[in-house]
Amino acid sequence: MSSLVTPPTDENNPQARAGTAALSIRGLAKRFGEKIAVNGVSLDVPQGSFYGLVGPNGAGKTTTLSMATGLLRPDHGQAMVHGVDVWGQPLEAKKLMGILPDGVRLFDRLTGEQLVTYAGLLRGMDRETVMARTGDLLRALDLTNDAGTLVVDYSAGMTKKIALASALIHAPKLLVLDEPFESVDPVSAANIRDILAGYVRSGGSVIVSSHVMDLVQRMCDHVAVIAAGTVLAAGTVDEVRGDATLEDRLVELVGGRNTSEGLSWLRTS
């Protein structure tokens, strides 16, 4: 445990119901060759919380989330989703999760509509439910007019949205979203935020990783700061940021700001 602030439990989180955490990570670690990507990360995402995972590039956010969702086998540690061991009972755990991975391809020779349908059918859902929900999701994400276009011809933002739709189709209890707002336009981002806020209000739990501190500060109720594969701070957003903004607090925790004069030749006058 390397966190400065003790990870919150259900008792001090007003929105959580009694019982297990939505996602509980214990000592996850992963090494790629010489590089230790994640070095013993422990987190608790309480039920009904909107949890932000922030940190600089290469901090290990994506690796942590991949290990927590069953996409990458950890060297050490454990991940539990609503009390189900992700690596012990993967099929049960994956039923509870909706996952939006970052930096992976999609089956992009399918149309948007086909891709979401595919995700639903892979989950073993029946055809009527899948068709109805696909229509709803495409409408909510403003993709109806492009439903029949191949995903390979989508813009970056549209691709992100169709991947999000594929993660939502089976109404999971926990959403794990890696960089969901990257290259998404402001209007769509606002729509997605509304969808997620409504989902959390109804008892769902969300963990998002993001570079956009401002967004995390406004949207999330919990946050963890992660750098060089370790958790530097975790807790409610107010606990972690104190009096400062989340961005300032992150920079203070992570360090690495250049305060020298630098690049004097770049000044045009």
């Binding site: 991975p101 992976v104 892979l122 989950r123």
Partner: protein
């Protein structure tokens, strides 16, 4: 600036080799092979110098023309063959056009094809050593010809790249442009036959090519050697004019390309058409089969193999020389090729495979879906390809044994491929790339998996094969019928076993598979 571009090219070449040792070994082996060919070519060119003037001329003109033609055609067939110095990447750097052109031309010479062409054209000087004046001409003309090769290929690449912005064009072109290459064998065979039937054919061909931009520069030294300086000068003019013309055209199209980035026109389409997803059962395995079948038709990497299949039939039909023995085996051969075609399915998915992992699809469903999609079109194609050749060649009595071989191989191979693709991954062309592109890091694993896989497939189908051999030796119809029974029963058993054990591998190793395919990017 020109030197900078050259240095950049060398740096890119060196860094691309530093990615993995396996790849480096592959490059070294490939390099040794190429070096061997080059040495043979050089020895041939030197020895050619002892031949008659007429022979030297004919060989050099035809060979040289083929080289220029190759430089023009290959970039079309494999779009993006060497885009390391893609002009589009220099758009923001404000490099003067003259220097950019010079840098790109020299950059084109640096690289395996460029160096080989250069060395060959310099060796040509040695060929002419008995005629000093011709040797000097050969040196000058040879260097200009190398420039012509590079400029022509760059012109074609730039012209094509303005079209390749469209994904649809890329998809279709990648397949269509490859078809002539499939027929390269028969074409070369035809040309060779032409040479053999009439000795004058080659000379006539060389005479014609000598006056075209393709062969003019290679023919000029011969004219000097023969004492016809006027003709040599005219041919030199043809060559240099072509070079200048190509340069002007290239700089124009480059100018245009630099300010008009490729644009992919996409028509918006509303939904409502689920395609194969509406026709297959709404289960995980059914959805995977629907997805795989959609890809067979829509992804050029898969549809390329579908396009190739009819050509296999045509090739076998003609290669038999009318006897039809080879043609009669079309069915088993097609079954063999098709069954093996899903052996790298997960490698072809690349990281899109993460959807299967994150949704927790069972290994059995994954394997079954992919195998069923293959069988949906392979079974009818194999049946037609087995029956029709036998009807055409009038060997209907062989129908049982051929059906046994075809179905046995198809089912056995389907089962084997289901195991192999869940067990081994290797670098294949990425989604969106040409099906015929050799991906970087095509290493030892790939060849080993292919070769051993084929051996294992033949081994598993040995009972059918032995029965078929007995049938052909004894001519006893009983063995023909035994082949079809064994092929169907044993094949089906192996198919089911393959899907089961492939599924077990998958269930145990799905995250490791995902990690392995994500290394190819």
């Amino acid at each position: 600036m020109v030197a900078d571009l050259l240095r950049l090219k060398l740096l890119l070449l060196r860094n691309s080799l530093r990615r993995s040792t396996g790849q480096l070994i592959g490059v070294i082996l490939g390099g040794l092979y190429g070096l061997g060919l080059l040495v043979l070519l050089m020895i041939g060119l030197v020895l050619l110098g002892t031949a008659d003037l007429e022979v030297i001329r004919t060989v050099l003109v035809i060979g040289g023309s083929a080289a220029v033609l190759g430089w023009i055609i290959i970039p079309i067939a494999a779009t993006g063959i060497d885009m390391t110095l893609d002009p589009a990447r220099f758009v923001t750097f404000a490099i003067p056009m003259r220097q950019l052109l010079a840098g790109l031309v020299l950059g084109g010479v640096v690289g395996v094809p460029g160096v080989v062409t250069l060395i060959a054209s310099l060796t040509q000087v040695v060929t002419w050593i008995r005629y000093p004046a011709a040797a000097v001409t050969a040196l000058v003309c040879g260097l200009i010809a190398v420039l012509l090769c590079v400029v022509a290929s760059r012109l074609v690449t730039t012209a094509v790249s303005s079209m390749t912005g469209s994904r649809r064009f890329k998809d279709v072109n990648g397949i269509v442009a490859f078809i002539p290459l499939i027929f390269l064998g028969p074409i070369i065979g035809g040309v060779t036959a032409g040479f053999q039937s009439s000795p004058g054919f080659a000379v006539t061909l060389a005479d014609f090519l000598a006056w075209t931009p393709l062969g003019a520069l290679w023919a000029a030294p011969a004219d000097v050697a023969a004492g016809d300086v006027g003709a040599a000068f005219l041919k030199f003019l043809i060559g240099t004019t072509t070079l200048v013309l190509f340069l002007v055209l290239w700089s124009r199209s480059l100018n245009h390309a630099l300010v008009t980035p490729p644009y992919n026109a996409v028509t918006k389409r509303a939904g409502g058409n689920l395609g194969w997803f509406a026709r297959f059962p709404a289960t995980p395995a059914g959805a995977i089969a629907a997805r795989a079948l959609t890809y067979w038709l829509r992804d050029p990497r898969y549809s390329a193999s579908l396009v190739v299949i009819p050509f296999v039939a045509v090739l076998l039909y003609f290669s038999g020389g009318g006897s039809g023995t080879a043609f009669a085996f079309l069915g088993p051969l097609t079954a063999f090729l098709l069954a093996w075609s899903i052996s790298a399915d997960i490698s072809y998915d690349n990281t899109a495979f993460s959807l299967h992992v994150s949704t927790g699809v069972s290994g059995r469903d994954d394997r079954l879906g992919r195998a069923v999609a293959l069988m949906v079109f392979s079974l009818p194609v194999t049946l037609v390809f087995t029956v029709v050749p036998l009807l055409v060649t009038g060997r209907t009595e062989d129908l049982p044994v051929m059906l046994g071989l075809s179905l046995g191989l198809l089912l056995t191979g389907g089962g084997l491929s289901s195991v192999v693709s869940a067990r081994y991954t290797y670098n294949v062309p990425l989604p969106g790339e040409s099906a015929f592109k050799t991906p970087p890091g095509t290493n030892f694993t790939m060849f080993a998996v292919q070769f051993i896989g084929w051996l294992v497939m033949l081994l598993l189908a040995l009972p059918e094969i032995v029965l078929a051999i007995v049938y052909f030796v004894t001519g006893d119809a009983l063995f023909g019928w035994l082949t079809v029974v064994v092929g169907l029963v044993l094949g089906s058993v192996l198919f089911v076993v393959g899907i089961r054990s492939g599924g077990r591998w998958y269930d145990r190793r799905a995250p490791e598979l995902l990690l392995a395919v994500s290394a190819n990017r």
